[in-house]
Amino acid sequence: MNERVLRIVAPVAVMALGVLIWDLIVRLNHIPPYILPGPGLVASTLVADWDILWSSLVSTVVTTLEGFGLAVAGGVGLAVLFNQSRLIEHSLYPYAVILQVTPVVAIAPLLLIYLPQQAAVLACAWIVAFFPVLANTTLGLNSVDHNLADLFRLYGASRWQMLWGLKIPAALPQMLAGIKIAGGLSLIGAVVAEIAAGSAGAGSGLAYRIAESGYRLNIPRMFAALLLLSVAGIVIFALLSLLAHLALRHWHESAMTREL
């Protein structure tokens, strides 16, 4: 069997096996659905509750993408700003770190007090996602080949040419690595904030559905919502990996397949 087929078939087989074992455990032990629903029931709940779950999914994904977009813009923007001015870097970088190391679960309830709910959820998604973009882009911008920088100086490059022609492309691999991490984290941030908000009794996202279904002991719907969240995370990761691959495929080692 060749490598490509194996890469698809092997994980699918593992999943099929897992689902089969799950189903057998539920059936053989006669576990009631309010404790552990079988895979069949989760699937049928997904179909039956599709309307409500779909609108929740859209709500969560929109928040995630907004938070992600702001994180990328903020992270790259700040990194470029830091790179241009030492003073700004030294003044602001510690606060970016503080924002990052303070657990977002603890910040979310506070944000919900001071901000409208939608804005608070968005802020959480942004806070967790922007730091990896900032840190990685900063690293990338600072690791420009010194000789190439000298070459640009020799030919009289302006600050702007130095940034667009040299620093940004050189930082692209690290920047994209940060962006890839940020995609997953913005979903986590959105979910954390929704759960915090959900327990306050408002909201419509998938995480809110999970919390709400939990209170109602609607365990199959919890599983269905969880499944959708997981799929959303996978799709985001896959799209960002594809983007990184397309951007780097001609020149960066990470995007190369090597024949031995």
Binding site: D145, N147, L148, D150, L151, F152, R153, L154, Y155, G156, A157, Q161, G165, L166, P169, A170, L172, H250, W251, H252, E253, M256
Partner: protein
């Protein structure tokens, strides 16, 4: 043939002390004649690369002066081509775009610059690789791209910092021959930094031997040989010149040892 008229550029009493306290150059006097092929020969760490960077205006002397015959301020001299020890190419750009870079930084348009870029590629024999990315090329080919990039601005002076040190012997010999042909054809001045006695004798009209730590001129040798080809490389004259140069180099290093 160093012209009898004013040297193209002169270093007078140039010293360079780095922030770390390392003294790279101490009172270096050096005249570079118009159209000559000059090698700076010395052991590693003798400051020959530093001297080259000062000529290029990439580094400022701590003491002493750099005087260009045409009165151009050293840091802003146009008409300098620089070839680093590494090919120093932008990995994200094609061979064409790498060679186009100096013209792009000077504000030229791609279409207008294309004939000159292609001509530079043709001079070093890599026209067919214009659309390739650096990683697809061998070390020798990358160095050719680097030389094409230095030639594209039609510089008066080509500064080369041990450009062939990392290449295998066959490739190095070929590039040596091509470099001599280019120098003859274009009538430019070449300052070539190397630690190889054989390479310096084969290429240069004049060799300046440097002492190390701090770097200054130990002696200068004229290499009078009209033809530089395979025959010269295996001739008795060449062997004799290499022996003389070798002796000059060991004198330069032993003076340093006695002093230390």
């Amino acid at each position: 043939m160093p012209n009898s008229s004013l040297p193209l550029v002169s270093l007078h009493g140039v010293s360079k002390v780095f922030g770390s306290g390392t003294q790279a150059l101490d009172g270096l006097d050096l005249d570079v004649g118009r159209g000559e092929f000059l090698s700076l020969l010395g052991p590693s760490g003798c400051g020959k690369s530093t001297a080259l960077r000062i000529l290029a205006g990439l580094s400022e002397p701590s003491r002493g002066t750099v005087t260009w015959a045409d009165g151009a301020p050293a840091g802003l001299v146009r008409g300098i081509g620089f070839v680093f020890q590494e090919p120093t190419l932008m990995p994200w750009a094609t061979v064409f775009d790498n060679v186009f870079l100096p013209l792009k930084l000077a504000g030229e348009h791609r279409s207008g610059a294309q004939p000159r870029v292609m001509a530079a590629l043709a001079r070093v024999g890599i026209v067919d690789f214009a659309q390739a990315y650096p990683r697809e090329l061998s070390g020798g080919m990358r160095m050719r791209v680097s030389i094409a990039r230095a030639l594209v601005t039609e510089p008066r002076v080509l500064l080369m910092d041990e450009p062939f040190a990392a290449l295998d012997e066959i490739t190095r010999f070929k590039l040596n021959d091509d470099l001599i042909a280019l120098w003859r054809e274009l009538g430019m001045t070449v300052v070539f930094v190397t630690h190889s006695v054989f390479e310096s004798v084969y290429l240069s009209q004049r060799i300046v031997v440097m002492t190390s730590r701090p770097g200054r001129v130990s002696s200068a040798l004229m290499i009078d040989a009209p033809n530089r080809d395979a025959q010269f490389r295996t001739s008795a004259d060449y062997a004799a010149l290499c022996r003389r140069t070798s002796e000059a180099l060991s004198r330069a290093t032993s003076v340093h040892r006695d002093a230390a």
